[in-house]
Each structure stands twice: as C-alpha cells, then as structure tokens.
Assembly symmetry: D2
Homo-oligomer: 490 residues x 4
C-alpha cells in the first residue's frame, strides 16, 4: 500500500557505493530541543539523504512530529515548521530508502510513535533487525496493525504488548526479542533513551551541552551545536536520561565482544568524526600509507576519486613521494541527480558530476585512489575519462578490501551477484576494468590502519567485516529463511 | 501528535451551520474503479470538504491508497494520481475535520487500512461510534497501537483481534462491539461491503452500473456516473458483494425500528438526491409550503438565504402568493474562506460572500427563508445587510425547528451553550435578532413535509430528531461518561 | 515567445458562453489601497477568472506589482503578498486569456507599467483596441520593444513617445491614436485615472469611500468594500483624481451618442450590479416577462438553466403562471474544470457540473430558460439529461436574441462559423437541438426589457448589439485588414 | 517595481567572497539545442547561482523562453520544461542578482528578448555596461519602455532604434554606444552571435561539436557536452555564426591591447577550465608555489580553506615540504543557505558550513591557505574554530594580493569602505585578524604564476587587476557621475 503524500525522492546519481541507511540524533534538557536535533541531522545528512523526521514533546501540546522527504536544510530549518515542534526533548532521524523498495512512503519515515496506556514513546533507529519479518508475522497473527514497512515498527508493537509498567522496562522487554545490529534513540514525555546492539555494530555517541544531553550517530554532529563529546555508548548498553539530567546505564543484552563496523572508518562516517577513539580522517590517510606500502607503483601523479578518496590519496602520495594533484573536478551543484531528465541529459552520465582536469592528466602515469569498488560501473567510466584526457597509464588503488558480501546490518548493498568482487579475482577485475594495475588494500592492512598493529585476529575479529570476509557476527535469520547461505566459519 | 504532511485545510467562512462530517462511496466490478469513486466523491463533496481518500486493490500492485487535503476535483481527477490507484474494487471518503480538533492530520483521513493474517481490508465510515473512547482505551491496554484520532480505527483493531476466519466475519464480530450511528463502506481484495447501523441513522444506498455495484451516501452520486439506483441499504443490514457480482445480505445487529436522520432532508443531502423514497428538493419545497401555512405574514417579497434556503422559499412563495425573488447574491468564487487573510479582508466578513440586491430589496417588506438557525451569527449579519439596503420589514422563516441539542451521530454541532435555541425561546430569539418576526417550522410540520401525514409519533418517532427534540435514540456513552446529561424520555 | 513562469491556467469546462475578458478596479486616498483593490477584484472575478494583477505606489518603496494566475481569493488575500503592495493608490485587473492564445504568459497579465522621464504609470483595461495591430507595427518600426502580446501595451508605448509634459496629458495623446471599446484605469505616483471610450461600450463606475475614490467595472464591487456609488464614468470621459481628492473630468474624444454593451445586461454583469441606472437582476427578470409574452407555451414547469438563467426563469414563471422549480442542480464545487483529467472523467462531460432533479422533471412538460445559445453544445447535453430524466416535452426559451456575430470589443466569442445562430434559422436550430420548441427573445423585446419602451431605434440604436445585429459601432480595423467583412449598415 | 512571480532566491551563506555575476552559453546547429545549453549552464553554475534562463528558436513555434530562480539542475533538466524549448539554436544565462538590489525579479533574469521589424533577437551577457545609466536615461527620454533594471536591456533598445537593416548590423551599431567590460551571446532566428569587449576583460570561448558551434564563458562547459575547444573569442571580436555553419568574424570596436580579468585565474573560473592557454588549476597551484617562496614560515601542516584554497595549498605544501592535510571539512549539503531560519540556527553561523578536524589540528602550527580576503569576516571565524580545536599557531597565506578596490566590470564587490584591504595595511590586517602571521601574494608574484615571467608591466599591465591596483582600464562613467574617484594613473 503506497501513499503519495509527498514527491517521490530523487535517487542518487549512481548506485555504485555502499550506503549507510540512517543517522539518529536525540537531545534532552535544552530549550527548543528540536532546533538542535535539526542541526545534528544536518551534520548527519551524509548518512541518509532521502528523508528526515523529528518528534518532540511539550507538556502543553503533547507529542509533535514532522516527517519530510528531502534534505534537512530544506525542511527543518524553517521557523514556521520548527515552531510546531516545541519542547526540551526531541529525537530525529535521516534515512535512505531501503533497497528495492519502489515508491518510498512518508509512513516509512522515522521516528515512529506509539501511544501506550502509560503514555507515548517515539523511536528511531540506524541498522537492521535481522528477524523483523518473523516478528512482524507473529505480531499480525496476534492482532497488531502495522502502518509501515519498516522493521523499527516491530519494536513499538513489542513494547505495546509488554506487561512491564514503565516504558524503559517495556523497551528492554522488546529488545530481548529482536536480533540484529542497530543503534536506537527513543523518547518518552520525560526521558531520552539510547541503545546500541550487543556487538556495537552501528555507532552511537553521547555528548553534553550545557545542562543538556545529546545522543548522535557521530561526533561531527556534536561539534555542529558546540556539544562536548563524552563517550561512545557501549556495545549492548542502554542509557536512560531523565528530565533531571540523571543518566542511568542498563544492560538489556547478554555481554559479547565488540564488533563495530569497519566500513564506518572506510567510508560511512564523516572524516571529521572521532570513531572508536580515532580520527576518521587520520585512519583514511593511514589506509593510503598502508596501500602505498602494499601496492607501490611508478607513476607521475596521485589523484583521488572525489571526494571520498582524498584522504587515502594524500596518505599514498606522502608515503610514495609521488605528487598529489586534483585531476578530477567534481561539480559541486550535483548533490542529487536530475529529476525527470531528458534523454539527452541522462546520456551524459558521469560527465554531469565529474570533469577531468585535462591539463593535469595529459601524458601522465596516474594513480587513482578510490575508497571502494562495488559494481565497478563508476570505475569504468572514470578510467575512460582519464584515458580520453590523455593519461599514459591508469593505476587503481582501492582503500578497502574487495567488497564481496552483502551487509544485513543497515547498509544498502546490491545482491551478491552484482558485487564485482564476489564474482572476480583481483586480476580478473583489473582485466575487466582494463587498467594498467588494480590493487585493493588487504584486510590485515586495513586492520593495521585502524590501529590493530597485528592486523586482524582471525579467531576473534575485532570488527564486523562481513562485507569483506563473509563472516556474519549476527545470523541474518530472515535472509536465511529466504535461502541465503552464510559462509561456514573458518 | 500532529503531522504536517500537507497544508492545514481552510476552515469554512462561518461556522453557523450544522455540518455533515462525511460521505462514503464504494465500487466493485468496474475497470478503473477508483475513477468512479472519484466522481462519486465529487458529487458528495458537500458532505465533507476538507479532505478525501481513496483505496483500491489490484492483484499486481496490491492495495493502493491516496489521501489528500482539499477538494476531490483538485486531487482525484489527475491522471498522474489516478494511475496509482488501479483495480476493479475501490472505496473512498470525503470528510470534515472533527470539531475542536486543531491541526487536522492526513493520518486522520479515511479510508483506514489494516493488514490481517488473511489479507488486508480498508474501511471508511460516515457517522460516529459513540463508545469509541472506551473501545480505544481497552484496545490500547491490550497492546494495539493507534495511528489516528479517528473512531473508525477502532473497527480495524477489533477486526485484527477477532478469531474469525474471514474478513466479513471479522467485521461482524467488530460491529457487535460498537455502538453509534454509522454507515460503512469497506473492501478486501475481492469483496465490497456496506453496513448501516441498526437504526439506519446515516444514509447508504445501493446502485448498479453495467456489471458493477456501487455503494453511496446519496443517490446524486449514482447519477453522476450514470448508475441505476437499486435500493437503500436497510437499517441494520450488512451487504457483502463478491467479485463474481453476487450480493449477500447479513444482519449483524438485533432488529430495531428505523430512525433515519431527519436533518438529511432539511439540509445535509443534496436537493437532487432521493432519500427514503422522497425527492429531497420536493421535501424542502413542501417545508416551505407548511411554513407558509403555519407562519403567514404580509410582505412584498419572499427571498431565500442562498443557497440552501431556496427550495423552501419557492414553496413559501407559491403557497403564500407573495412574489419570489433573489434578493441576496452569493459570490460564487467563495467556496472556501481566505487563507492567511489581511486584517482588512477579515473585517469585511459576510460581504465577501453575500451581496444584497439593493434595487430589489429597497422599500420592501421582505420574508427571508433560511434552512436553520444554529448560533444565529449569520442571521444577524444578513438582517443588517437587508436593512442597510433599505428593506422596510424583515421577517425570518426557518425551514427547520429550533436546533437545541447537539448531534452525537457524525454531525459537527457546537456545544449546547452555543446553540441559540438551547438558550432562548422563539420570541427571545426574535428580539435578539431584532427582526420584525421570526418563525420556525414546528416539529410536526416538518414530519408532515417528509410525508408523515399525522406528524410525529411521540411514542415511537419515525426519525432521529435528537437535535430538535433532545431524544437520543442511541445512548451517547462516551459523552455520558464525560458528564453529558441526556434528557429523560418523556 | 512564451514564458512559463506559472502553471498554465485551467480552461473553463465548456466554451459555450460568451466571456467578458476583463474587470478593472482602482482606489486612491485610502490606506492599504491594494487590499481594497483585492476585494474589488474578488467581486469582479466573474469578469475574468484566469489571472489577476495589482500595482500600488508607495513613496518609500516606489511602484510595486504582483501578477498571478488563478483566483483573486487564492492569491491577493494573503498578508504575505499584500504587504508587498503598500500605499494609498492602487489599481488592479482580472482577466481571461484571449481566445486562441495557447499558453498564456504572466507577461500578458495586466496592469502594465511604464517608466517615463517624469515618473512611472500603470494601466489596466477592459475591452479591446481595434487598431492595436496597426499601432504595434508602427511602434516597432520606430524602435519600441513590446514585452507582451496585449493590446494595452500600445497605450504605454504611445504615452512614452508623447511630447506632453504630464502623464495625464500623455495619456490623452495616446487615447487619440487608439480605436476601439475600452474602459481604462490607470495610476501615476499621485493620480488615479479612469477612461471610458467615446461610445461607452464597456462599463466603468465611480464610487466614494471615506476620503477615498474608487473606480470599478461594476457597482457590486463598490458594495463589497462598502463604498457609495457616485455615478457612471460617462462615455468619452476621462477622470483624473489627485492625491488631495480633487477630481478633474476631461474629454479626450470627439462626442458621440452612447452605445453601451447590451450583453452586459443579459449575461456579463452580476445581477446585483446597477447598470445604466437599472438593476441587472430586474432587467433579466423583465426579459423573462417579455419572453413569456412573445413566446408562450403550455407546460408544467419553468426551470432555469443554472445559474445565469434563473432571473429570466423567475420572470417567465411569474408572467405565465406556470410553476417555477429548480429541476437542474449545479455542482457548486465545479467552479473550474479538472486539470489533467483521466479519460473516464473527461467523458462524464456535463454530468460533472449539472444533475437533473429527476423526481421534479419526470412526466412533466418543461420550459428551460437559458441566457444565450452560442455553439449550442451545452443546450444539446441539457436536453438529453432532461429527457433521460423522463420529461414529456422540452421547450427552450432563450433570454437573448440569436448570437450571430463575433464581438471585437473585449468579449471572447468563437469565430462566426462556430456560432449556431450564424448558420441556422430559429427553426433549424430547434430541429438541430431536437426540442419541442425553441424561442429567442426578439431584439425589440430585449430593448424593452432594458427600459426602451419603444424597442430598438434602428436608425440610432441605443446600445451596442453587434453580436446580435452585426452592426459594429466601431469599425474593427485590424479584423477588416485581415479580411473580415462588416455587414453594410441597413 | 518589484514583481514576486517566484520565490525570492536565497542569498549565499556569507558575502565574504567576490562573486562573478554571470555565465553565458550558446549553441547552434544541434538538434534540441536547449538541452545542450542546459548542460553548459549546469557546468557554469558557479558563475551565477540565483537564476538562469534559456531562449531557443524553432520555425514552428517561434522564439521560446524560460527563466527561473534556482539551480539549473532543478529547473532546466525536466523534460516537461525542455520540451517547450525546441529548435537548433539556443542561448542561456546564469546569474547572481546585483549587489544591493532587494527583491530580485524574474524580469531581470536574462536572456532578454526584443522583437524588431525584421524579426526578434535574444541576448545575454556577462559583465557590466559602465555607461548603462546614462544610456537608459537617454533612451527613456526618447520613448523606450524598460522592463527590467538590467544594463543588458540597453543593448536591445539601442538595437531597436538602429536604422541598420540586419540584426548583426544593428548589434554593431548598439555596441558602438556602450562602454564597459562584457561578453555577449545573442541569437536571431538563424544566427548565433558572440561578442567580447575591446579589452577582453570577461572570458568567452568557442567550441565545436559535430556540425554545431558552441559559445561558452569557460572551457569546462565545453567538456560537459563533449565539445572540442576551438579558441577564445578575441578581445574586441564579434562572431556571427549562420545556420549553414559558416562563421564570420567582425571587429566592431577600435583595437586595444588585451586586459583580461586576472581574478578569473585566482577564483572565478573552475579549476578544470583552460583560460588564456593555461590550466586554471595549475595557475592556482603555482600561486601556492610563489607564495611559499615569498612568504615561508615554519609550521606542521598546510591546510586549505575549502574548497577554493585547495590547489594553492597543494602548491604551498609541495614547495615548502610541509605536510598537506584537510583540517577543515565542508558540509557538502550546504550549497545554499537556509531559507527562513530560526534564530538558533542563524546563530550557528559558520559551523553549519565548516567543521574543524580536531584530531588533525590539535597541537599543530597550521598554515591556512585561502584564495582571498574581502571583508575578513570569514577569516576571523575560521581562525576561532582552528584555535578552539587546539592549534598552536595560525598563519594565513592568501593566494591573491589585497583586494582594495571595487570591480565595476560585472563582479559583485562590496563598496570600498567594506574592503578590509582598502582600510588596513597587511600588518594591521594581521593584528585585526589576530593571527600569528598573514601574508598576501604580491601582484608580481601573481603575474608570475599566470605565466608572466617578469611579473607585471606597470606601464602596460597585461591583465585587468583593478581590484588590486585600482587602475581601471575602462572608465566607470556611471560611477564617476555618482562621485566615485578613480585613482590617477601612476
């Protein structure tokens, strides 16, 4: 059942990147809390560009909500809208639509809200509940009416059916039924809550601003409002912050070793965020350094594929001593793709987005540093542009290992058959892309760059790297029920 | 919790009328069923001008839905929208917002949809469930999550919790729990259903068009698509029409004597509809005739208050022999009020809507025929305009008895203290309005006009006339729980 | 050259009426003058529904302008827009687009503005300059740049090229060069001006409100703001009202006998306006009386074709003694047609707009009173509906003579070949429409109804009746240059 | 006179940059020419972000035009709009609004169009006509009506009044009357024309694509459609390209030595454009090299102020051997500012746009490389952010000489009193900004970077550098008439 209450969102220009599906943010103890949430979501926009939503609570007007397609800055900055979201506690969410879902509905935009007998609660999450389909089936059998196609809604229904007397207790009840990888922010009339799954796959950090508390997917969204970074929410931790500013830490899950997502370091998080105690920018620069050590090549120019390849390219250039230069210019007015384009415009393809700096490239042996290769379609187009501009040689250096497995933890990945690295060896990919050389950083090299001096511990990997290794730390139940075969642990 | 997915609807220029809150329509067995529903809703627009919704079902795309604020003709006539509503079965709804509800939400616009384990169902209704608050409280206690503030949603949740195996059976289960006055259209993937409450307070008619069936609040909406009027759904009847065109009649309620709403004849229904076997136009004209007999006065001109007073004025003129004339002109571009008006424009008040035909009125003794007096504010303004234009005398004749009691059956009435007739006698009202005379038709006169030659049967009134008599045929449980005192039966 | 700055306006549901193309309004000496102009234009909306514009002047911000497609009430009532139009002098305009012009442009929406060396002037007009194409050609030859396709713009360019020292003098200069039938309102920084062509074909009235003056196409637009009707601007008169409230009357044209448009009485003007000293409503009622005398027939019901036929039907019924009844109901939510309708909806045709009151019509001999027959397409559809509803006989009585000639004075008429009466006799039309009888009022009868006891003076007709008689009081030069043959004077 | 036909455009977040006011583009000899123009304008968007317009000519529909506020990609990529612009010849324009003009009007958006007796012409220009006010005054005196406040419209009126028989000849006539610095693209029904002023201040290049010709402000907009760069239009040259593909070169101006704008190299042009035979990126990188030589300093990090300072920072780092790093992250969703922001959001200031990469900056001596200092307000905010993040020292290095004079040649500069460098010495600015050091590149250093090995020739400067030197190669007549004092030539 599709509802057309808003314009269908634009789909990004190409689908040749993994995409984080969500960012979450919550604030309590600050006047006009929703304004701070709007700013936080603006800083988290890279985690979800299609839609956003904010819920706030105010004793006079109750729970208020606004959900919109489009950028945060185009919706949640207008005084006329923000005035409808009063109160000192608020949560918010930005999202991509789920892969394969045609016709996204505003109904699917978080936060979700439920009215219980002891009052209402709103909830937003980043990640994925891997047994959501099974839960949904069971809940419908018992008479629950679902309003969205989102997995998050299961949590609301589980809470509604809990016999516990307080909303935080009901959330604990609900969490014990869900499997998966997720970071949650939630709120009641008086409380702000944050949850990170048992393995801590998805990020969530805690900040303080004046008398108020902030929860955010990343630290860069603390910076934007001037909040102080306190600490990460720990894997398996649930924090409950009361109106008086007191913070209670609960542990709804059985303790496990942390397995946070390594791809956050490679691509998802903003370079100016601090993740796991490390600067994301520095990690990416270090990946470039490792890559230069693992896969050196003689060349005249190290050129990043804009914009995400830049820190690794800087590292590669510094380590190799080959000059760094911006050989590809990105059209900065190309944030989203064209809506309803003419045929001619569609055919222009990558040229609408990127232009080669011919004078810099012509006659040179060029090392192109990119963050990842997913389908390989963009890499091919860039190779063509570089050669058209007169490059003598083209060498690809990729700042992540081959992406060979889909993510089931809240990241939009193509199905396995579409992943270039699931179907080809590195050499085959090099031939397929028709470049002079192609090298990916090794999994161990990546682990070294994120600070594990001895690389990956194969018996107890320090991170979730399922997209590279195929080792899924949480069994993807719904997918397995549909026939997906998980690689046997080695 | 208010959602601002669409512009808040304009509120009509004055609130000095009772307002039907809804119109319903359903079609099965016709290609592009949603198009027919759109036409039907356009013809029922007078029953609800704020918002409308359509749900259709198509085997390829499943249930599809569109809900919009604004007129049917501005939304549900566009090919680009209607193409998203394919299939041979569809239902629709037009509505006013409920009185006192600030910030109407698109979530409250019907039809409502629920997914059950045996498939989905959509439902729309006209009327009011008088024990909705009690039902809602009980359902929330048991873990149901409500998405709207509408009483209709109770029915969906009751159906979700029913143990019955088919959706029509589940609806019967649900209906046995609800009290009130309502006409329902509902649909599943293969069935169109219609229900009228046990007393038949709210109208619902059945039509046939080619191989298809139509359910509609009024016959005028059969005419617009060229459908043949078959019969009224009987009080207490539930019809279930299958994809093969077969129609099953069920009786979910205990049999009672019919008490259809007499105000439908006075004001709500369109004059070109047939209601209870009678032409609404003829009934209204006959009210004018009765009124001329009951309350004659010497005068020069019978002038309707546009547009709803016209048929009664024609009858009054014909019976009295006093010339009929259009002394008040209505601005036809004034369907809704101004949005965000300047102070100056707001102050113009009734002049934006009506203008007196000075040349016709000056020096005359004028009988103004209006359909009803609710708060009396409009009557005062009209009296002023008529006297400003030089009328010698102003006599009000009202085509309904004094409206002294609120309706709890799906009609938007002010609270009792705001009803002029709840607080004053006819003579006091005449003095208050400062007119030369003021006469209402008697309750018996009204019953005669609708065809009861002997007038009202006080022991077993043939109609629901609670707004005039204070005798409520269905106990308004939620209101009583809040302290409303129902008049003891005489 | 078309500009698409706004949505193309909807075209009215059928084109089977003559259409006035414009209404004009001006105010001086009142604070927030533009607000009064907005109200006036709202009252004149029937004269032009596609677009409207207002220009005001304020010493601080200079000339300000807003032009919009759509209804006045949807645009010029919003505080946010009206605040951009400050000042004590303002003029405004509502318009239809010119026949045959596809893709109306906001550039063509009046008022027009020109900056001269002694300051700016804005101008709006109702009517048509019959030598506009010749003037335009000459002006372009001399280096004028036209920005619109409107004939009004010629006046601005003629004023720009005048050697006179004041703007009113320049306007006199310009007026001496133009031919045609027009009423003009214009303004400078300090003056409001009104002009009526030498024959006074198009209407223009003068009103007073407090210390301010008002110019308006019709008196109903004085009523809406509470202004007092002073007098009509005389044929050939130009009034210049200064900031101090003084009014100067000039005579730019050679004196001629008045020939005001008789169709204003029949259809264009609102029934509550006073035109030529007569109530338009009363004139229309009197046309019905004359028609009953000229063309009696035995029947059971006099039924107006809504809404414009109603006053004549009341007159016909009163004179004939046959009962008056509203046998056709107009859908009041059908002010404009559907935008981008589906095929199915388009096919519904007249049923979207009108419904027959079957119970009133069945078995009756019905007299249908309509204001005019242009192409005859609507008449045919109405006959069908009436017969489908079971009428025994259908008699058409038309409240105007046969419309056999196009108007070149600011009224949108089809070309002659499309006018039913240009190609058939009354009997042929009756056969063509397949009705039991069809009678038009005679030209003399119409003149009697407008107060000429002896009917039309064939030697010196008191009105412009070119659309009926083919006698054009102003030679349509541009049309003649294109080959249109004007009937030789008889 | 302001017209509000469209939303007022957002003003960019800060006004602390000089802004090119326009980009122009023209295409002939290609089917669907307007599509190519749209792509070209998209590539030139950095030259004007507020509005854009396209005019095309097609034998069937004549001249067609569309002008819109907002980005090219949001308007001129939709099939529904582009279909209204058919034909094989088209021109287009992107623009900023003129400084100080409140309430930009769509009327002021180019291209402008004029209908002459021998047919129409459309024209768009980049630059400024320095005697436009005088010309406008003279033209109005003679009866021309101006529709915009744009200087470009003068050219159209001069053409309209020319006695020459062809449009190109009329344009030559007009050009001989105008003073200033401008690049023009213009078109008739069959011809595409390009003009560069006598000194060639503003850029204009010629390209070829298949059988078609292209005119563009920059070469990057040839790349986007795959066109081949042929040559620059020469200073003082007018090219007239006919429908048969023949190109005629005319010389309407007296020959002068070229003085192209040096700021195009510093900031306006895109880094991937070729200007005066040199890569803009390489020039900027070379500026960094020169700057490192002229103004070395001991430090730990060379950090660009994003994004325009990046190439110079790369050059500075390479030359100095100090590591290059991205210490400041730009929010890529911040292309334009917030519309109607809440107070709280407004107060966030530069943090909405930039975030410091704390981990990279803390404890370091940082060299910040920026392209220019205009008012100095942004520099102050950036200094604060960098110090807040824990930098030990902050050294500003500016890739252009002090901007001390306003530009009158089509660049939006603040008035002199607002220019920091017009009021302070380098040392005073350093103290004012409170940084450890501040150095601008010298004018000679800049000339060396653009390829003049011997630096600037003070007797005959090779470029227009008025914004740095105060030496205006074209006397700004209108400004002088208003009292602006031009520096005496040294």
């Amino acid at each position: 059942m599709s509802s057309c209450a808003a314009m269908p969102p634009a789909h990004p220009f190409d689908d040749d990147k993994l995409r984080e599906e969500c960012g979450v943010y919550g604030v309590t103890g600050l006047p006009e809390a929703a304004n701070f949430v709007a700013l936080g979501l603006h800083a988290l926009q890279h985690r979800g560009q299609e839609a956003g939503g904010i819920v706030s609570y105010d004793p006079d007007t109750g729970f208020n909500s606004a959900r919109r397609f489009g950028y945060v800055r185009d919706n949640f900055t207008k005084a006329s809208l923000m005035e409808t979201l009063p109160g000192t506690v608020a949560i918010g969410h930005v999202r991509y639509s789920t892969a394969g879902k045609k016709g996204a509905a505003i109904r699917d935009v978080q936060p979700f809200f439920g009215e219980f007998s002891m009052g209402g609660a709103a909830i937003a999450h980043n990640g994925n509940i891997t047994n959501a389909e099974e839960l949904r089936h069971d809940l419908i059998e018992r008479g629950s009416i679902f309003q969205s196609s989102s997995d998050t809604e299961c949590i609301i229904h589980l809470m509604a059916r809990s016999m516990a007397k307080s909303i935080p207790d009901r959330m604990e009840d609900a969490l014990r039924r869900v499997e998966g990888a997720f970071s949650i922010v939630a709120m009641t009339r008086t409380k702000l809550m944050g949850v990170r799954d048992a393995l801590g796959v998805r990020p969530l950090v805690l900040g303080q601003f004046g008398d108020g508390w902030v929860l955010s997917s990343e630290t860069c969204a603390l910076d934007i409002i001037g909040a102080r970074f306190v600490r990460e929410i720990e894997p398996g931790e649930m924090v409950v912050i009361s109106a008086d500013g007191s913070l209670e830490s609960r542990r709804p899950f059985r303790p496990k070793a942390s397995r946070s997502c390594i791809f956050e370091h490679v691509y998802f998080s903003r370079p100016d965020s601090i993740l796991g105690g490390r600067s994301v920018y520095e990690t990416r620069r270090q990946i470039g350094v490792e890559l230069a050590r693992e896969a050196p090549v003689e060349a005249d120019l190290v050129c990043p594929v804009p914009d995400s390849g830049t820190p690794a390219a800087i590292g590669y250039a510094a380590e190799s001593g080959i000059p760094f230069g911006l050989g590809i210019t990105r059209n900065q007015y190309m944030g989203r793709t064209f809506i309803e384009p003419t045929e001619q415009i569609r055919n222009m393809g990558v040229r609408l987005k990127l232009n080669v700096n011919r004078a810099l490239i012509a006659g040179k042996r060029v090392i192109l540093v990119d963050d990842s290769v997913v389908r390989g379609t963009t890499s091919q187009k860039i190779r063509e542009m570089i050669l058209d501009a007169g490059a003598k040689e083209v060498h690809f250096r990729i700042a992540s290992p081959p992406t060979a497995w889909p993510c089931f933890y809240g990241v939009d990945t193509p199905e396995r058959s579409k992943l270039l690295a699931a179907n080809m060896t590195e050499d085959e990919m090099c031939a397929h892309l028709n470049v002079d050389s192609l090298k990916f950083i090794s999994l161990d090299g990546l682990y070294r760059a994120v600070g594990e001096a001895n690389g990956r511990d194969p018996k107890a990997p320090q991170y979730c790297d399922a997209c590279f290794s195929g080792e899924y730390p949480v069994a993807p139940s719904d997918m397995i029920a549909k026939g997906f075969t998980v690689k046997a642990a080695e």
